[in-house]
């Protein structure tokens, strides 16, 4: 089974590490991934707020391209960025549910000499790893068990809300199951899908910083060595603002925030550079101490 892959802007820019680790990890699992050709903006960010129809059109074009590029009937389009994942899923949903949206968009696609027959399955890598590959298979392929590493799995809001396509909205477990399969421990915490501050970090920092502080603090309090994320924006918010949080809340915060795919890659024995671990601002204690599965704490 070959998966079409939609990177989206942030995986090519600020969050290159996510793309690197996704591709490397999937390669290590011998899962074929092919990038969508000539893809465009997923339609997230301001579009959705300003003019929904425009963002649907943008997303629909990517879906149409996916259908054209894949020979498979009903191809799977993998979207690691949860922003892209949500907009693509939402568009798919609206095209099926609302005739007027569907009419307008078809018109727009026609103008671009494209057509879309609603066959694409938009899926998140977590979904694919858990429900297609399966934890057993992954566990078997683990070369460097992450023994002793305590991970706080943080899913963010977008991959489970509003469409809980592959996990529970309130208490998701797919990432936890995956991370445990890698030999690491997961910390049980209630903030798995709580807001990270999102784009408020850029607009209303006085609101954004406290929100991500709540997460980092709680994860650290519960003894996590690292927070695992599935979203570029979450990763960015949680990692880059820790100094600000520290001074604002008068307590030292120093907690690495990595992509779950980076941890997956590590366990599968992928070299650190190919996982973009060197791009982390706060180095992964695990990586820093080198392999060997010894107990580690930040």
């Amino acid at each position: 089974m070959k998966y079409l892959y939609y990177p989206g802007c942030s995986l090519k820019g600020t969050n290159r590490a996510y793309e690197e680790s996704v591709l490397a990890a999937f390669q290590a699992l011998a899962i074929e991934v092919e990038e969508l050709e000539d893809w465009n903006c997923c339609g997230a960010t301001a579009y959705m707020a300003v003019d929904e129809m425009k963002s649907f059109a943008l997303a629909a074009r990517n879906l149409a391209l996916a259908e054209r590029q894949s020979r498979a009937d009903g191809p799977t389009l993998m979207a690691p960025c949860s922003g892209c994942y949500l907009v693509l899923s939402k568009t798919q949903h609206y095209l099926e549910e609302y005739s007027e949206v569907s009419r307008t968009i078809d018109g727009a696609l026609q103008a671009a000499r494209l057509s879309y027959s609603r066959k694409v399955h938009v899926r998140h890598p977590l979904d694919i790893l858990i429900n297609e590959v399966g934890v057993q298979t992954i566990a078997q392929k683990v070369r460097q068990p992450l023994a002793g590493l305590k991970v706080a799995c943080y899913y963010g809001c977008q991959i489970v809300r509003p469409y809980a396509a592959f996990d529970d909205q309130v208490n998701p477990t797919t990432m936890d199951r995956l991370i445990r399969a890698l030999g690491a421990e997961t910390v049980d915490w209630p903030l798995k899908t709580r807001c990270c501050g999102g784009s408020l970090m850029g607009t209303l920092q006085e609101v954004g910083v406290p929100l991500s502080y709540i997460l980092v603090k709680e994860a650290q309090k519960r003894g996590a060595d690292v927070v695992a994320t599935a979203c570029p924006l979450c990763q960015f918010n949680l990692e880059c603002y820790q100094d600000k949080m520290s001074q604002q809340f008068k307590e030292r915060l120093q907690l690495p925030v990595a992509y779950f795919t980076q941890l997956l890659g590590l366990a599968l024995g992928v070299p650190e550079r190919r996982l973009g671990l060197h791009r982390l601002l706060i180095p992964l204690p695990y990586a820093a101490k080198g392999r060997g599965g010894a107990h580690v704490h930040a």
Binding site: D168, V170, N171, W189, P190, L191, I214, E218
Partner: protein
């Protein structure tokens, strides 16, 4: 039966009466227009309108026109016939016509109420009236059939609803069967402490009623019973089958003294206490239970016992060990095993293979625990036989088969005499198994015990030479042959005859009988079974410096017990896999000097399912050695007696014996154990001995040797046990002597200490719940315990049935964000009820799991109710029971109590006042749905608390309330099996899944099935007050039927017109009530109208139109169809 000659009332003169139903119809349907239309219809002589046709003046209109001959048939266009058909039929009858010259047009429910546009409504009304007119012209006079109603009543479910209904009917002097599936009556109400709004004690008002039920002469109470099936007994009454589930306690003799529960070693979570407390395996849900009778929870034979060839009751003695009841444990062991100290050491314990504990971590060390007990009581005695019989029975061979057979026969009173060729008794146990695994004194002790109970053993007495089989057959009533398999298989390689080449058994026998002797420095052992390991470890103890086990497959295929393999390696034995002997090198003088071997590789699986080893060509190599021990299996010693016995043999050189009875071709001569099966494990030999003993007993009593023996021997039990949440706790290894001492013949394992044994025993998961230790039977003075009890089916006939099966609380786990099952101090309301109950698990104390008192408690309303994701309906009782709990919690703990509600719904007498009182008591009320319950603290005062996040919609802010305890006011749901049940009783369910009443307002306790009524929460969520009222209503309904004594049936039965019947029989199998039979000589179908319920399926099927249905004849329906279509 042929068509009745149609009576007629002359040319049709039809009166059409259109009802306004106040404005209900008139506001939508243009009555005048309809009247005008009706006048144009065929045969219509009168068309009138009236405000309320169902009123007396309305009916009078009809009667007048009938009496004065203006009309002779009636059409009323008003509401649904399900509502007033009876009314107008009566009017027609009182007007002097047959009531069935009437037809109704439903222009309210089907027209005015459902049509937006007045004009369209009018047109639809016309069409329906036209249809009614056309139809009624074809109506025939009919007589209603009267059927007697059986005076007995069945009440299903003995919660407060069932109890109330049953008492009412019984007090009226009628017989009631009250069926309850639980061991006690009382339902949910029995679990409560106080009832709102009066806060009177639930027990105080309920228990008197419960006892009344128990003693009432007119009530036959069937607890721990379920309705199996409900079938029509006749046209109107029911034949009900009731399953009386086996409680294993005799209801008549049990006095409820509770001594049994005191001695019962098994504790499980108490359902009645919502899992907050424990109960015993033999139990009574609560002290005031009615009936005051105990019940044993048994899930069936546990996997360990089922897997054991002799069905040793492992769970029994394990549970007792866990309780420190060691003497009792011994008794349980001796119940089915006369050689426990031997089995405890060397049995291959198949029991552990299916041990449920293995799903969690590792199986229990069942043999280890058995051994612990036998070590603890070294001088235990075997039970003396209860009977004595004259017959003597000869047993050849004193191995486990022979010993077990002798024991079983002795217990049956016979006098067994064992003939043993060897100087010592015990067979393979004594000669084949080394002392460091099975000390000699242990064997001796076991054999002495057998002697003590009167079993005679003649050693050095080989049968065939010393005595002949013929002599035995003459002098003894029967003979059992269990001579084992002592003759070595040969390697069949050159050099096998060289000195210092030993057979495994030969070697072990010599050591066991004559003591250790020097073998040489380097010893090779060939084979991969347990005896290979025994030989190797014995060789080491005989001073060999290097011992290597040569095996042609790999470790994975070794038949030996992995634990033994480990032990051997620990002691220094080496393993050489995928190697097979080719030739033994050496000469007479030097003896064996080396073994030439071949390398092997694994090929396709063979008969045993293991991959067959294949030699690798030219891979020969040589291993030097001083001695070789070949352990590749044995066969029975036939040379000595086989031939002389004249017993049939198999091609494998073993005795041929019947699989089930073990009888040989010689009558009265039985054989079993290794000499029949080939080398096998001890417990199977014992199983053979036992089987033979049973056969011999039957043989001598001249009863069928084969009947009912399926469950002898190992089998697999199939029931899933939920092991989730069981904490991992690996098997406790048995202490052993240090390696240094493993060059002597001291026993390697020293056995569990008391502490270890108890700890190990506590790992048991009580698969069977009741562990069958039978302590309760020993203590019960009333002798009420009966382990053999089976479910029984009782059949009753009743005329009415009242369903009062109640509700089940919403499962709070379905809403993960409220943390039930995740945070220990989140409780459901029912759990809180139990806590507040002075007879409950905390004797009325409200405390957290750690035992401390809560300082703040949050009660979350509408959990699972008023929520489209779960149940959209309101559960009605939650607001009030939440108020009640709030009051009780505050009263007992002085905690701050917060209620989180959407709306307070407190309608009902004195309810609002109760609410006010709670407000005055200072209970906090926050209006808003709770978002989540979390242990995520954001401020110091939230640390270690449960934080309830909710929007306060009154002040418009999000609030975080830290509390110690959360109570979830879970809603009421239909019983899990409500759908199954309602099918049994031919009734329907409403959208919420609750039983559906016949009419939401006018017939709230009736159902669409005649004579079946519903009361209480099974019909919809309701409080005790309403439940009692409904129960009374159902009682009244039932009593009405009984007092009238009969019901009139709609005369809509089918009939057959013989002259048209072609005798094709198509209708006969289609009738669900077997009302149609076939008259062979007339070759026509015959309808038994007494059985016909009037569905009309046969009529629709009849190809010749011979079958017809009163009130629904073809032409009546054709007319109706034309009617609705031809006019508008």
């Amino acid at each position: 039966m042929s068509t009745p000659e149609p009576k007629t009332n002359g040319a049709p003169k039809i009166g059409v009466y259109v009802c306004h139903c106040g404005v209900n119809i008139a506001a939508k349907v243009h009555i005048a227009e309809v009247i005008e239309f009706a006048q144009t219809l065929p045969f219509v002589t009168v068309a009138q309108e009236y405000k309320f046709m169902c009123s007396d003046p309305g009916q009078e209109l009809i009667q007048k026109d009938l009496r004065e001959g203006r009309i002779n048939r009636v059409v009323v266009a008003s509401c649904s016939p399900l509502m007033h058909e009876m009314t107008f039929r009566r009017a027609t009858a009182e007007g002097g016509q047959n009531p069935f010259f009437f037809q109704m047009a439903n222009i309210r429910e089907h027209v005015s109420w459902v049509t937006a546009d007045g004009h369209q409504a009018t047109e639809k009304a016309k069409a329906l009236i036209a249809a009614a007119v056309r139809r009624v012209a074809f109506h025939k006079p009919l007589e209603k059939k009267r059927v007697p109603v059986h005076p007995h009543v069945l009440v299903v479910g003995a919660g407060i609803a069932g109890i109330e209904a049953a008492l009412k009917i019984a007090d009226a002097g009628k017989k009631v069967y009250l069926v309850e599936r639980e061991p006690t009556i009382g339902g949910h109400m029995a679990q409560f402490d106080k009832c709102f709004p009066t806060l009177d004690c639930a027990a105080c008002i309920l228990t008197p009623k419960m006892t009344q039920v128990c003693v009432h002469p007119n009530i036959e109470l069937m607890t721990y019973s379920e309705v199996e099936s409900v079938e029509p007994y006749d046209l109107r009454n029911f034949k009900v089958k009731i399953r009386r589930k086996a409680r294993f306690v005799n209801e008549d003799t049990c006095t409820g003294c509770a001594l049994c529960a005191d001695v019962c070693p098994v504790s499980v979570l108490s359902e009645f206490d919502e899992g907050l407390g424990m109960r015993k395996a033999i139990y009574r849900p609560f002290p005031q239970a009615v009936p005051n009778i105990f019940t044993i929870s048994r899930r069936g034979t546990p996997p360990c016992q089922a897997a054991c060839s002799i069905h040793q009751n492992a769970q029994g003695y394990i549970t007792l060990i866990a309780q420190g009841k060691f003497k009792e444990a011994l008794d349980v062991i001796l119940r089915d095993n006369p050689l426990p100290s031997i089995c405890g050491r060397i049995c291959t314990h198949p029991c552990t293979v299916n041990c449920t504990r293995a799903d969690v971590d590792e199986p229990l060390s069942i043999p280890g625990l058995k051994r612990f007990i036998t070590d603890l009581f070294p001088n235990y005695k075997l039970p003396q036989p209860a009977v004595e019989r004259p017959e003597k029975i000869a047993i050849v061979g004193s191995g486990p088969a022979g010993l077990m057979c002798a024991y079983e026969l002795r217990q049956r009173g016979f006098h067994p005499v064992i003939f043993e060729a060897q100087p010592v008794a015990g067979g393979m146990l004594s000669v084949g198994i080394p002392a460091f695994r099975l000390p000699r004194d242990v064997i001796k002790a076991e054999i002495d015990r057998l002697k003590e109970i009167g079993i005679e053993i003649k050693t050095n007495t080989p049968v065939g030479t010393a005595v002949t089989i013929e002599q035995l057959r003459k002098q003894y009533a029967a003979v059992f042959i269990g001579i084992g398999a002592h003759v070595e298989r040969k390697l069949k390689v050159p050099g096998e005859a060289l000195p210092n080449v030993w057979g495994g058994i030969e070697f072990l026998r010599k050591v066991n009988l004559e003591g250790p002797f020097k073998l040489g420095k380097k010893v090779l052992v060939i084979g991969g079974g347990n005896s290979a390991l025994d030989a190797a470890r014995t060789a080491l103890r005989c001073g060999a410096e290097e011992v290597t086990i040569v095996y042609r497959r790999t470790r994975a295929e070794m038949p030996a017990d992995p634990k033994e393999v480990e032990a051997a390696e620990e002691e220094g034995a080496k393993m050489l896999f995928l190697t097979a002997p080719k030739a033994i090198l050496g000469n007479k003088e030097t003896g064996v000097t080396a073994l030439e071997c071949l390398k092997m590789k694994l090929g396709a699986p063979d008969a045993s399912g293991r991959p067959a080893p294949e030699p690798i060509p030219n891979s020969e190599f040589v291993l030097s050695c001083d001695a070789i021990i070949a352990t590749i299996g044995q066969v029975p010693d036939l040379a000595s007696l086989g031939g002389k016995l004249g017993i049939e043999m198999t091609k494998w050189g073993t005795f041929k014996a019947d699989e089930l009875t073990l009888e040989t071709n010689m009558p009265g001569v039985f054989a079993g154990g290794d000499c029949v099966t080939g080398p096998d494990v001890v417990v199977n030999a014992m199983y053979a001995g036992k089987k033979a003993a049973i056969s011999i007993d039957r043989y001598l009593n001249k009863v069928d040797m084969r009947a009912g023996r399926e469950h002898e021997g190992p089998y697999r039990t199939e029931y899933a046990i939920d092991t989730s949440g069981t904490t991992v706790q690996r098997q406790i290894p048995m202490p052993a002597i240090e390696l240094a001492r493993r060059r002597t013949f001291d026993e390697v394992h020293t056995g569990y200490t008391q502490e270890l044994a108890i700890a190990e025993a506590k790992r048991c998961l009580d698969c069977g719940i009741c562990c069958d230790c039978r302590l309760c039977a020993t203590i019960c003075e009333a002798k009420a315990i009966n382990y053999e009890m089976k479910d029984e089916i009782e059949e009753i006939v009743v005329g009415s049935i009242i369903l009062a099966t109640g509700f089940k609380p919403f499962d709070a786990r379905r809403i993960p964000r409220y943390g039930y099952g995740k945070y220990p101090n989140v409780y459901t309301a029912l759990e809180a009820e139990r806590m507040t109950n002075s007879a409950g698990p905390t004797s009325g104390e409200i405390r957290l799991r750690d035992g401390s008192k809560p300082k703040a408690v949050g009660i979350i309303h509408c959990v699972g109710s008023r929520d489209r994701n779960y149940n959209s309906y309101c559960s009605r009782v939650c607001c009030l029971y939440s108020l009640k709990l709030a009051h009780l919690i505050k009263e007992r703990t002085h905690a701050e109590v917060y209620n989180f509600y959407i709306d307070m719904r407190v309608p009902g007498k004195a309810y609002e006042e109760f609410y006010d009182r709670m407000l005055e008591e200072g209970i906090h009320f926050i209006r808003g749905r709770v978002a989540e319950v979390t242990d995520h603290a954001m401020t110091p005062d939230e640390e270690g608390k449960l934080v309830i996040r909710a929007e306060d919609t009154l002040i418009g802010v999000i609030r975080r309330i830290p509390v110690d305890m959360v109570v979830l006011a879970v809603g009421l749901e239909p019983q899990a099996d409500a759908d199954e049940v309602r099918r049994k009783f031919y009734i329907s369910c409403g959208s919420g899944g609750f039983f559906l009443e016949r009419h939401p307002k006018l017939a709230p306790v009736q159902t669409f099935a005649d004579g079946i009524f519903i009361a209480g929460a099974c019909q919809g969520p309701k409080d005790i007050q309403d439940t009692i009222a409904q129960a009374g209503a159902t009682a009244a309904e039932a009593l009405v039927l009984i007092d009238r004594g009969f019901v009139e049936l709609e005369p809509n039965t089918a009939f057959i017109q013989e002259e048209l019947c072609s005798g094709c029989k198509t209708c006969i199998p289609l009738c669900p009530f077997n009302a149609i039979s076939f008259n062979a000589e007339k070759s026509v179908a015959v309808m038994n109208e007494a059985l016909c319920k009037g569905c009309g399926t046969c009529v629709a099927t009849c190809p010749s139109g011979a079958a017809q249905q009163h009130l629904f004849t073809d032409e009546q329906i054709y007319e109706e169809i034309e009617g609705v279509l031809s006019y508008v």
